[in-house]
């Protein structure tokens, strides 16, 4: 019986799914990690650039401020005459040297303006020496208090140029104040230099958050304040003083998100901001990420295709092995697997082919053997047939011969018997006693000869299988009685008592009545023949173990054990029979054959000197 077919899943999909999963997992994780770190690096780089720009702009502004301060220090040396020509001389030197200072004023310790020099009118000197009083001005008071003063940034109405007032105190002992009007184009330049990218920009605000420099000059002129922007405010209030917060994100006035780096310029307490819209700042990072994603997808597709191909290469030999196995299983023993790979699968296919070849050879051998045996059997059967025909022919010849012989023997026997009877009946004249006795002997011998001929004929017919039993129901007790009647005369003559006993259960049996009577008569006549005068012969029938058993017992000489087996063979007689020189020696052999033809058995129980019991059985009859 074939095992129930299990559902088969395709190996190729299993392999593909496993390989694709592995490869995709590897590629995706590498891509994600790579992207993360590259994002980090890029962010650091971008913010680094912004911070550097902010720092360098702040430094250059600071340098500019320091340079101006240094210049002012150089003309702040006390002079003998604070407002004298010596001061004027030094002012003229500075104005000639430093183009970004456009006006220098000297206020004496009481706040009176003593010297004023302009660069645009070189060497023009306002000679209102120690004239107007500026002692209440911011520059005078703050400079006297803090050594230095930085005024607010002002713009030229005409060209928008930024300038501011810077004041320093005179070195002791005069303690006057030198006030300079400084052109701030350097600040503007530094701011312009600090712009990054294409959309990036830089600007500077003062301590109050008001714009000092910005690419959009209108914002500057409008005195726009950025103090409201959270990241600017954070810087101004010092909440973002920590170095890590030097770069931050915020929103510009238009609300765009920007990366913002800032740096202070101290003094004068300004802040430089370098900003870039996040969209631009992170554009390279984004494009790098998109590149990575694109590569990832490409590699993923490659991985899928590769793994499908790989799986197919892996699975195809297995499939062809499976297909070949199925074909061999269904009887195509000459099927071979074509697997060319030089690996374990190839080895498996080779082994499989070897196995199939051996199976094929073995099977072919088996078939050949079967054919040979069949031929031999056919030959043997033909021989047997031939022998059977020969035997049948021989048997037929034998029967024919016996029939002929019977006929040929009976013809002269007819004359012998007939003439003897004629004489014995004295049809043609009287005979004497002796002659009558001899004629009786002749007639007895003739009868003996006739029974001999009959028995031989019967036996040969039985052996040739030419006897057809005329099977019918008949009364067994009746048959026994008739047998007894036939032998009674002779028994009485010999002084032998014959008795019959039959079980009440024994009645009708199935069989060939004439043949059974022949057996009964044979056994009875034998018993009477061998029982001496005064003896008894008992015939009995009984039902036993489903078979009918007929036994004939006598008080004769008995049969030696050696003879008991032989007496059922043809022409074999026990010692007693030979002595009597009577009987054909065929009766028991014939009886045995007849009983066996009926499916029964016949045997003898005997002991020398104690008589014999011959028993035959007839098989149970169907109810």
């Amino acid at each position: 019986m074939e095992p129930p077919a299990r559902p088969h899943h395709r190996l190729i999909w299993k392999y593909t799914v496993v390989v694709v999963t592995l490869v995709a997992a590897a590629i995706v994780s590498v891509g994600v990690i790579e992207s993360y770190f590259s994002y980090q690096d890029s962010t650091r780089a971008v913010t680094g650039v912004a911070a550097d720009k902010a720092s360098s702009a702040a430094v250059s502004i600071d340098q500019f401020i320091q340079e101006i301060l240094g210049d002012l220090e150089s003309v702040a040396q006390p002079t003998v005459d604070p407002g004298g020509p010596e001061r004027l001389q030094s002012f003229r030197g500075l104005l000639g040297r430093q183009k970004l200072v456009s006006q220098l004023t000297y206020l004496d310790s009481s706040g009176k303006e003593c010297v004023r020099a302009y660069s645009f009118e070189i060497n023009q000197v306002d000679s209102r020496t120690c004239g107007s009083d500026r002692s209440t001005s911011q520059e005078f008071i703050r400079a006297r208090a803090e050594q230095q003063y930085f005024g607010s940034v002002a713009f030229d109405e005409r060209d928008g140029r930024a300038h501011m007032t810077i004041a320093v105190t005179e070195d002791a002992p005069g303690e006057g104040v030198i006030v300079a009007d400084v052109d701030l184009r350097s600040v503007r330049e530094a701011i312009d230099r600090a712009r990054i990218g294409t959309a990036g920009y830089a600007y500077a605000v003062d301590a109050q958050g008001e714009l000092i420099a910005h690419p959009d000059i209108n914002l500057v002129l409008a005195h726009t304040s950025f103090a409201a922007l959270p990241h600017v405010r954070a810087a101004l209030t010092g909440a973002a003083a920590a170095p890590a917060d030097v770069v931050t994100t915020g929103r510009d006035p238009d609300g765009r998100e920007v990366l913002s780096a800032f740096h202070s310029v101290e003094p004068p307490g300004w802040w430089v901001f370098v900003e870039e819209p996040l969209t631009e700042a992170f554009a390279p990072i984004e494009s790098a990420i998109w590149r990575t994603v694109l590569l990832l997808v490409v590699f993923l597709i490659l991985a899928v295709v590769t793994s499908v191909l790989l799986a197919r290469n892996l699975v195809r030999p297995i499939e062809s092995i499976q297909a070949a196995a199925a074909k061999i299983g269904s009887g195509a023993l000459d099927q071979r697997i074509e697997v060319s790979s030089r690996d374990e699968l190839g080895a498996l296919a080779d082994e499989f082919n070897r196995m199939a070849a051996r199976l094929h050879t073995f099977y072919a051998g088996l078939e050949q053997q079967v054919q040979e045996r069949t031929r031999e059997l056919a030959t043997a059967l033909a021989e047997l047939d031939e022998k059977t025909r020969e035997l049948e022919a021989a048997s037929h010849h034998k029967s024919e011969f016996l029939a002929n012989m019977s006929h040929e023997l009976r013809t002269p026997l007819n004359a012998i018997n007939g003439f003897s009877q004629v004489l014995r009946r004295q049809l043609f004249g009287e005979i004497n006693e002796k002659q009558a006795e001899y004629l009786d002997d002749i007639l007895g011998s003739a009868r003996h000869l006739l029974s001999l001929i009959d028995d031989v004929l019967d036996l040969s017919k039985v052996e040739a299988g030419q006897i057809d039993l005329q099977v019918a129901a008949f009364s067994l007790p009746g048959a026994l009685e008739r047998g007894v009647v036939i032998v009674r005369e002779r028994a009485t003559k010999g002084g032998v008592r014959v008795s019959l006993s039959s079980d009440p259960g024994v009645d009708t049996v199935m069989g060939d009545e004439r043949r059974i009577r022949q057996v009964i008569f044979n056994l009875l006549s034998n018993a009477v023949k061998f029982t001496p005068a005064g003896g008894t012969v008992d015939i009995a029938a009984a039902q036993l173990d489903g078979e009918v058993r007929v036994s004939v017992s006598d008080t004769g000489p008995g049969i030696a054990p050696d003879d008991q087996g032989r007496i059922f063979d043809e022409f074999q007689q026990a010692a007693a029979g030979k002595e009597q020189r009577e009987g054909t020696g065929l009766g028991l052999a014939l009886s045995k054959r007849l009983v066996e033809l009926h499916g029964g058995r016949i045997w003898v129980d005997s002991e020398l000197g104690k008589g014999s019991t011959f028993v035959f059985t007839l098989p149970a009859q169907p109810a």
């Binding site: 006929h407 040929e408 007819n414 007939g418 004629v422 049809l427 006739l450």
Partner: protein, 126 residues
């Protein structure tokens, strides 16, 4: 019984002599034939009261001789007894089926023979 004529068909001389002597001694007249052909001729010619027919004859089978007798209206009603050494069991039935009126097996018992002959001498079925 009074001198009825019986045709004896028998090819064995000794047996012929036996049958002839016994029948004549009993008071019958006999006709003798040693072949089937002779038997047919004599039967036609003389119209015997009974035929004792041997089965194995030199020229033809006794059964065939019988059927020829039956075919000739002059001899069709003559009773015919089979007298044969083919005395196997079942033969007597076979001969009666073949059309014989009676059957006597060899070796014959003289008394039986004479009884049977007397029974059939009065004509067929007698």
């Amino acid at each position: 019984m009074a001198g009825e004529q019986i045709l004896v068909v028998e090819d064995n001389e000794k047996n012929m002599k036996l049958f002839r002597d016994v029948l004549q001694a009993t008071g019958y007249r006999t006709l003798e034939a040693s072949t089937g052909g002779q038997a047919l001729m004599l039967a036609t010619e003389h119209g015997p009261a009974l035929v004792l027919m041997d089965i194995r004859l030199p020229d033809m089978d006794g059964v065939e001789a019988l059927s020829r007798l039956r075919m000739d209206e002059r001899t069709a009603f003559i009773p015919v007894l089979a007298v044969t050494a083919q005395a196997m069991k079942g033969d007597s039935e076979r001969f009666k089926e073949a059309g014989f009126d009676g059957y006597v097996s060899k070796p014959v018992d003289i008394d039986e023979l004479l009884t049977t002959v007397e029974q059939h001498c009065g004509g067929r079925g007698g």
